[in-house]
Symmetry: C2
Subunit: 114 residues, 2 copies
């Protein structure tokens, strides 16, 4: 894994380790929202929301656009996809290990039975 991929994974999992930031993502999967709407939805100040959004944007979980004085946020699928891909890969490696173990045990059972 390349250094920037390791750092990207650090950032995305760090971003997801906060319940408020996960709540922002859960809200944005249902459609875009402004910073004020997100702050109101979570019951936090706009200043606190701006901080959370910075972390979420740095980890490519959220992107935003400013039109006039209003900043609208939406899901950036890149971050979610990267995190899910890493976890899926680990689960598959683990299942592959269990399959090999199962096959080994089957062979031994047959050998001791023959």
């Amino acid at each position: 894994m390349l250094k920037y991929e390791v750092e990207a994974a650090d950032r995305v999992f760090h971003a997801l380790a906060d319940a408020n930031r996960r709540a922002v993502i859960e809200r944005l999967t249902r459609g875009p929202a402004t910073v004020s709407e997100l702050a109101a939805h979570l019951g936090v100040t706009v200043a606190a929301m701006v901080q959370h959004l910075r972390v979420l944007q740095d980890s490519e979980l959220v992107r935003s656009e400013k039109a006039g004085r209003v900043r609208t946020c939406q899901i950036d699928p890149a971050g979610l996809r990267n995190a899910e891909a890493w976890l899926q890969h680990q689960r598959m490696e683990w299942e592959h290990h269990l399959d090999r173990l199962g096959a080994l045990l089957d062979d031994r059972t047959k050998e001791s039975g023959s």
Copy 2:
């Protein structure tokens, strides 16, 4: 989401936000290993590895058993499964939102064309 589920998600994503802890998981998906083997594999002290393993066990990503003086670690699939399920759910919600948006745009195109 129940409070203990929120806290469990906090813990698992926090545990995954560290490159060394992810490297432990990547190693353990290929089969169990002792604490010393993991420390040697990552080039860290046994004391540092014990700290990492505590975080990984608290988040149900790793489990361990002691036989005599040797502690052997293996993957605990619960943590990986929970984290993957949350991410998958968000991705599906987001794709569902995009589908609805696509259908809406199709309807409008048809309306303006008729």
